[in-house]
Each structure stands twice: as C-alpha cells, then as structure tokens.
C-alpha cells in the first residue's frame, strides 16, 4: 500500500456528526466494505448510522464489497435523505 492508494471519503449530515470528521483519506485496497468496517471499528458509536447509509463512488451508487477502489476515488457516505 502506498499513499497513492488512498481514496477520499466524505461524510454528510448525521454521518459526519457521528464519525466526527467531514472527510478523510483511507486505503482504497480495503474496498468499500473494508472502509466501512474500519470506520465502524474506530468509531463504534457510528455503527448504526453507517449501517443505514448508502454510498456513492465517484458519483455512482455502490454497494459495499471487498473489491479494491481506484486510487483517488471519491466515496460519499449518505444518510437517508430528508429534503422537502
């Protein structure tokens, strides 16, 4: 793993509040599932929130798997929407 493996993870609304940061860089080799697991392990209080979130990778809805993410990808962590 090198620094160039990193992906940008952005947290919105309650996800940001629970995880405690707006964004961070994490290893893409973990895959989306591994990233979610790592963040959950680090911040157990965010566990239920993360379990209820959906994810975008470079703007596309993506389900968590172990498939490595491309370096530099943008991962958005989205709680259920509440507009209107």
């Amino acid at each position: 793993m090198t620094a160039t493996d990193l992906v940008q993870v952005r947290y919105f609304a309650v996800a940001r509040a629970r995880v405690g940061v707006a964004e961070e860089w994490l290893p893409g080799a973990l895959g989306l599932a591994g990233i979610v697991a790592a963040v959950t392990e680090r911040t157990p209080e965010a566990s239920a929130t993360l379990a209820g979130c959906s994810f975008l990778v470079n703007g596309l809805r993506t389900f968590p798997t172990d498939e490595p993410l491309v370096a530099g990808a943008v991962v958005d962590v989205l709680p259920p929407f509440a507009g209107g």
Binding site: F12, T49, G59, D76, L78, P79, F81, G83, G84
Partner: protein, 141 residues
C-alpha cells in the same frame, strides 16, 4: 417538449409566486405549485427551525431527476423545483415545486409525484432545532 426552468439547490430565499410565474404558459390551463414550509412542531415537540444540508452535486442531481420525470410524465407544459439550504426559521419556504399542463388533473398528479420524487431521491438532509435547545437529524439511522 416540457420546459424545465429555474431548477436550483442553494441558500437563496424561495418565493413560490415567482416559481408559479416561471411555469405559466399559453398552452397551460392549470398551474399547481407545492410550497414546503418549515413548521413549528414534529412528533409532539416544538420546533424553532431547520438546517438543510445538500450534497455538493444536489443541483445537478435535481436537474437530472426532473429531466427523467418529464420523460416519464409526457404532456406537461413546464416544470420547476428548487430547494433551499442553510438555516431556516418556522414559516420559511424550504422547497418549491411547480408544474403546468393543459388540464388540471395532469398538473395535480404530476406535482404530487414530483414532490415525492424529490423527497425520496434528492441528497438533502435536515437537522431539526427544538425549542428546548437540542437538535436532531431527521430520518437519521
């Protein structure tokens, strides 16, 4: 071809009359506007305001949702929708959707569907601020 006008997600104040004027059309016999307003209560608690946060791409996403909506709902004259971000007080307008069509049935149905679509699919979140001083993200898992 349905006109799509005035779509935006930002902190600008929303004037429903202005949005209804945007969808006026010589072919339209009906204009239906939905105005989503910050109310003073939720689930028995007194609410003093709402804070809306939008994904940075929300404006683009709203435009895409409406383009798809117009494809699924042919025959409308014009469609608009806009959502506010930032801190709003009770009584302020958070969301406007307006639709015009030749006949009223289409406009009523389309406007209701558009509102449901936006609430379901637009990446916007709200934090409710209570009179007691605490706050809570709405729909938070």
């Amino acid at each position: 071809m349905t006109q799509i006008v005035g779509v935006r997600v930002n902190a600008e104040v929303l004037d429903p009359d202005r949005f209804e004027a945007l969808v006026r059309d010589p072919q339209a016999g009906a204009c239906v506007t939905f105005t989503g307003v910050v109310r003073d209560h939720d689930q028995g608690r007194t609410v003093v305001g709402l804070e809306f946060e939008a994904h940075p791409d929300a404006g683009t996403i709203l435009a895409e949702l409406i383009a798809q909506f117009c494809a699924d709902f042919p025959g409308l004259c014009a469609v608009t929708a806009a959502h506010r971000t930032g801190t709003l007080s009770v009584g302020e307008v958070a969301f406007v959707a307006a639709v015009s069509s030749p006949h009223r049935c289409q406009a009523f149905l389309a406007c209701a569907s558009l509102v449901d679509l936006v609430k379901d699919q637009l990446p916007v979140w709200k934090r409710q601020v209570y009179a007691a001083g605490d706050h809570e993200w709405v729909n938070a898992p």
